[in-house]
Symmetry: D2
Subunit: 323 residues, 4 copies
């Protein structure tokens, strides 16, 4: 079409649900991932002419996810994402950048006492039974090009509430103000957080497509980092005496930055899930911070990036809204 | 309209989100309920003539929920539902039956170490911070009329998975059969369960509308029962070597019936969430129960009631699907 | 387990998405169904002993849906459901009853002008392009046993709103009343409706499993009936000057009963989606039925069955809530 | 916190559902909007010190939405968004940029014949009854700072399907390829589109906060533009003989750019909703493009921006994923 050109483009496969079981004798281990992959590169003629000779089909992308789970295992969501992203960039000349996002569903072992057997003995309890745990989803997102890679981690769906230690006053008033100041209110939010690691990891330039090489030093312990970050988010939420949700956000972000090695930047999106005391005065009843209405909409929405001094804010604000 | 008559009718208010905080010194307690109420009775002329003189508005129904949370507290979802249901039947002549269903959202305390204070001491950790826990929702449903009441309890959203100890073979084959027999597969489901208690509790006949009277003996410990039922569901799922999801269902139901005092009947709805080994043979790879595809649809759906001998199945099958 | 017995049970496959295309020259036709099947019968030993010799696997049930779409076509959702339900009961001795529920997704043809061709002609517009239409989902549910069958039809997700011609006053007041009477308000609801046809259609006793036989007279025009019922629901909602949502419900049901041949009974579930004038008085502004807040929860919920005189109410109330 | 700084931040109120009715005699008009507002500016001390003296509370933001609907009406989603955005920037020194996003729910009038009156006349049909229409949601997003403003428009949820005229072949093959080439397949997608208008509209610098001034020329006809864009998207989808979904995307974008005045750029996100012929060969049946399985996951995901030559791509890719 005359006067029309192609801008930024990407394509891939979203929603690949891969569940990997490792059997270690009677003890089984479980990883449950939803993998989404977006590829960028030389896509011009695919769009303008319908030529597919530079297109690795999304069906192949999907096959690769499952084959890699078998060939390389899943050490962690981050490690698996790195393997896949490097593979696509190293393996196809026309692909210049790959973004792999993984949502990890969390499970914990069902703990049961040993079952009595017919002959009166007690059998060992099973080690192959799991229950979905937590309401949050763990996120890992890796972007790789020839030169390097960026690793983000995070979570969605972590819902927290303080019944006190939250105030809100001293705010601007204008013609449309009706809100009253308060020194004691419920503060509740559903945390979406995404943080960026500062590690300098190799890109796909080496062409091996097979992950961190032997001379790169040990891979970071991504699982331990994620768990630490989650713990710090909860602790900061609980320990902050809040003068605004913005202040709580800053404390949460700051605590992850200072408490988890290797985090350069964190973006938080915190809906203010209002809990308002129900007006019981028509019924001659007091309501001293006791009975609240919870509702879904509308809600305040507080979003910010917190950074290590000297770091650059690289996490796109809208990316966090898209999780 | 000639030739047209009114059949069964009910009305009420759904989705009342009430969050109650009890402050016991520094230690706060939290109940988070979503209350839905349906009233039956003399509704004929409301429908046919638009007369509202026998209608307690749903807005009033909502106010009552919040006022009762203040006036009577929330000992448990079941107890609160009983209070409300008896109130509506006892309080309005035109209302003959009330059904109160409560979805309870579960929270647990955020455990944090004490925070250092500016003067070098360590403050006690806060006791007012909570995180939503579990993926399941607790259900209580109470139906009251003049003569008596029925108490159901249950849960939705409890997702469990066995990586082995599940077989499926020996089934009927016909022209459309392609499934192969297996002696080792993943078994996964998202449990919806609803059980009925056998307790004979008073209805609304006494007209007090204010709950269990003084000479009715102590109220059952609804919370302990619910926790025990959940534990038994998990244990039966984990301990059953399954020849079919139907068999697992029966074991789960049976274990609740025999393990939890006062349960007369339980209805279970278990979607069979298929996890199929991904076919890696085109890539020259084996796949020995390791890498699976998980998907949402279509799914098997297994539903049954399990009863104490002599009990009558009273839980409507469709009710469980509507949770 | 001693003292424990099996109650009502059913099993099947839910969520089978079948899209059938019929090519009539350049003009293509499209049916988009989601088929869910539940089978009842001799399931005792499957549950108690794990014996599967009377179990037609749900995988086979799924295959049958797709094979039947090819072998018998899809004349209408109701006709297709009848074919399938009769097949399962007639084909397997252990299956005594089959319920087939179909959600039909609606599409309409994209109407475009003819495209200019390179040689200056105008090509005929394509007849193979469709856009999903309507926000409602059409429902058909058929239950078949040896003796007969029951056909239900309906819809979910039909959202309607009157900006006036709705009043609500003269209601009961009690201690918890705060609602004010109104003679002019918005009335909005999202209609779920399910109606039962009175046709006496053969069950699966003949054993053919292949639908209505040659001497049964022509099949009803299920599509025309459904369209007529939807039109009557909309017309009754629009034309009723409402004194309560209950009255509107009765008018909607009555109009379907009297306007659509063969309908014996209809069940309606109408959430009262409140639209409340926003209080603009703090800003010195009037608000004469102009600016409203819409919200999702809580909502009133009005449900009733309307019947032809002499008919029996057979649609389970909870079934409609489960759609 | 030492070593920690604040990065990009914004806050506001999301999910304000405003329904405005205009009564023009018996004929009523309806606008149904969900308004979300995000404000940026001098938020440093709010985060780091908990000072709120530069914070306009989100409660006030909400009030303003409803008050403006009364004071200024809602000419179109875009016009209403411009009014609000300019107000916040012009009205508060500490607010430097405002983004107003509106999701518009679409309704159409219920057309009914006139109703017979008791005295034998036929009343005019009501003009105050509406039914939600279309499955798509209209989007408007306006960003305003002191210097200027950016207007985006778009839609989500427009689901389309071609039963033929779609091919896919000539693609890259690697070790993980199993997909077969095809010259005739179903192509289906759910369109999310967001386009940017090139109009140079004033920002909030004038300080009036009250929209386009008298000497700015007439406001663009935003509604007509949006309808034209939607029509072009549908037409391009229907008329393109597709060699890949990428090619179809490019045609859709190009047609909007060339067909709708004032569009500088468009971003499209097109999930490839796979419809695969069901393998009926085990049952001895052919399947000539007739019976397909539809499924939700995984899906291909094709995303690109199409631009007028010389324009700059400004729509953030992740923004479109967040709609």
């Amino acid at each position: 079409m005359p006067g029309v050109v192609l801008g930024p483009a990407r394509y891939g496969k979203a929603g690949n649900r891969v569940v990997r079981v490792v059997r270690e004798g009677r003890t089984h281990h479980l990883k449950d991932l939803e993998v989404s992959i977006a590829l960028e590169g030389d896509l011009e003629e695919t769009h303008t002419l319908g030529r597919n000779d530079k297109v690795l089909p999304t069906d192949t992308v999907r096959n690769t996810v499952y084959a890699f789970a078998r060939e390389h295992g899943i050490a962690s969501a981050e490690e698996f994402a790195l393997l896949l992203a490097r593979h696509f960039v190293a393996g196809q000349e026309s692909i210049h950048r790959a973004r792999v996002r993984i949502e990890e569903h969390l499970w914990e072992r069902i703990e049961v006492p040993g079952a009595p057997t017919p002959d009166g003995e007690v059998a060992d309890p099973p080690r192959h039974s799991f229950v979905r745990s937590g309401r949050e989803t763990r996120i890992a997102q890796v972007t790789v090009d020839a030169e390097g890679c960026e690793v983000l981690a995070g979570l969605t769906g972590l819902t927290v509430l303080n019944t006190t230690a939250s105030e809100f006053h001293g705010f601007v008033e204008d013609r449309y103000t009706t809100l009253r100041e308060t020194t004691d209110r419920i503060l509740a939010t559903e945390v979406t957080a995404l943080w960026r690691y500062a590690d300098r990891l190799p890109g796909a330039g080496s062409g091996t497509g097979a992950g961190t090489g032997p001379d790169e030093g040990p891979a970071p312990d991504w699982d331990a980092r994620w768990t630490a970050a989650r713990d710090h988010l909860l602790a900061a939420f609980a320990l902050t005496h809040s003068l605004s949700l913005q202040q709580t956000l800053y404390e949460m972000g700051g605590r992850v930055l200072t408490g988890v090695p290797g985090v350069a930047e964190i973006r938080l999106s915190l809906p203010n899930k209002h809990h308002v005391p129900f007006d019981l005065s028509p019924f001659g009843l007091e309501n001293d911070h006791e009975v609240h209405v919870a509702g879904d909409d509308p809600h305040g929405l507080i979003e910010a990036t917190v950074l290590r001094e000297g770091a650059t804010a690289r996490i796109p604000p809208d990316l966090v809204n898209a999780l």
